[in-house]
């Protein structure tokens, strides 16, 4: 009894303050990160080129207004949306197909799904370099395959016609396994009764897929697609490592354009404004995502 009392007295932190004390360090680190965020908003409202420090001053949103008539900006928006849209759709279709193929739990299927983790765990920047070596015009194995099947002059990342295709291919190689893993876990967690009932009634496989599998899998599909969309619209690593946004402005997605604006043309104001527009897009997407994700998380907890 006295022992309990002494431990109570020795407690330096009152129980009510405890959770705050525990989360405070993590919070402080984040406040340190919020400061640059506010600074970025401030920069985006300025005429600010590092090469012309004398010319710096507030211009209250002129950077944003200029975007309306700036063809480079519309190109950036278009390339980002095309990149994000096509990678997510292709990865979703491919990931779903692979997940359906691997649905049954067997040694072989489990082994394959583990092997498919490897691309996902490869750094995207390094994956881009791997493909750069494989698409080298002199000795690249993929260039050689293209020659064999009749495309004599397929120049992959260095031609404006195929650069987008090349980076999308790398993105698919790295991130399709992500879709596959999430959808496979979703497929395997579905209840079996509806399928047994449908099989008893003689419902064809294809109809089972459209009527039962797909609707029940929808929450997983939505979560996985939104997760990827959030990352894909911000893609930097693959594109920068492969072509640095080139050739020309073919691959100038938001973050690559903002990076080059900041470091090459030292136009800080425009760079910050670009990133804030990207942030606004991701903010809306992440709110939708979090709602879906929380619902799925609750379900995973309930089912476990």
């Amino acid at each position: 009894m006295t022992d309990t009392l002494t431990t109570r007295r020795r407690q330096l932190i009152s129980p009510r303050a405890l959770p705050y004390v525990l989360s405070l360090p993590a919070l402080l680190v984040c406040i340190g990160i919020l400061i640059p965020f506010v600074t970025a908003i401030y920069y985006s409202l300025q005429r600010y080129r590092m090469s012309q420090p004398w010319n710096r001053g507030m211009n209250w949103g002129e950077n944003y207004v200029k975007f309306l008539t700036d063809s480079d900006f519309w190109n950036t928006l278009k390339v980002s949306l095309v990149y994000a849209g096509s990678t997510v759709v292709l990865e979703l279709l491919l990931g779903l197909a692979i997940a359906l193929l691997l649905k049954k739990r067997s040694t072989v299927n489990n082994f394959i799904s583990i092997m498919l983790l490897l691309p996902l765990m490869t750094a995207p920047a390094l994956a881009a370099l791997m493909f750069k070596l494989m698409t080298n015009p002199n000795f690249g194995i993929l260039s050689y395959f293209m020659q064999v099947i009749g495309f004599e002059d397929f120049r992959w990342g260095s031609s404006p016609d195929t650069a987008l295709f090349t980076v999308i291919l790398v993105d698919i190689w790295v991130y399709t396994p992500f879709m596959m893993i999430l959808l496979l876990a979703g497929l395997r967690s579905l209840p079996t009764q509806p399928f047994e009932a449908a099989a008893l009634d003689g419902v064809p496989q294809l109809e089972q897929f459209w009527r039962i599998t797909l609707p029940m899998l929808m929450p997983y599909i939505l979560t996985a697609a939104l997760f990827r969309l959030l990352d894909s619209i911000q893609q930097f690593d693959i594109i920068y490592a492969m072509t640095q946004g080139g050739p020309g402005d073919t691959l100038m997605v938001f973050q690559v354009e903002a990076y080059l604006n900041f470091f090459q043309s030292t136009n800080v104001g425009r760079s910050a404004a670009l990133l804030l527009i990207l942030w606004a897009i991701t903010y809306v997407l992440s709110n939708i995502f979090v709602k879906n994700w929380l619902r799925l998380r609750e379900r995973a907890k309930g089912g476990a």
């Binding site: 993590a26 691997l102 070596l133 967690s189």
Partner: protein
Amino acid sequence: MDHTSFLERWFRRAALTVIIIFFMFPIFWIVLMSLQTNETILRSPPSMSFAPTLDNYTAILAGRLDSNVASMGIDFVNNLMNSIILSVCSVAVALALGVPAAYAFARHKFRGSEDIAFTLLSFRFAPPLLVLLPLTLYFQEIGLADTYLGLVWVYQLICLPLILWIVRGYFEDISPDIEYAYRIAGHSWFSTFRKIALPLAGPGIAAAGLLAFIFAWNNFIFALVLASADKQPVTVGALAFVTASGIQYGQIAAAIVLSIAPTLALALWAQRYLVEGLSLGAVKG
């Protein structure tokens, strides 16, 4: 009936073979390239018959690159060391900060706890450059530019949300009754946390730490913006190496293999936990 299932089985096998080839071939080919000399790499048509050599690896590990034209020093070992230092320190800091916070969020629903947790999660989804670009200017002012300390701090942007949300899920799965019983027996809050909660969530914490390590290792943009050559990890170093060494393709391939090997090995070792971690706990593997 039998006929269709035979066809189906055959189709399945063919499809899976194509999938495996597509996803495994780049890794396989880069490993092959890393075992060849430049002469055999440049052969046309490409061929898989060659006498394997470890010269590329020894050149990288020894830090000297000798060709018939000239000999140059390479610092790729330094990049590997930087990757290890940055990833290990970032995960250690993220665990030290994130695990107590995750426990607080899981056990004590206090005012603003959900908002704070979501703010932390939102960092995972915001464009990293938005924070990085102003940060370069700040870091130069306060002397954190090009230091491990500054980089480890910024790496918390990826490590901390990951650890916080995964570990929180594991703490929520543990019944609080065990902890109450231990507290009633007269133990302090801290010893309850250390002796009961931490060991029970141990596997989850380890899994979150591994995943955070992989993400820190694979990160490219933070170090590209904030680190100069002597602090760069492998992801940035490999890109610089490609530019610097030009045509030493065998060595480039060997450098890439050395850079991806650690994360691939960890992934294979811990694959059981990855599914749950990758979806931040939304999907059970």
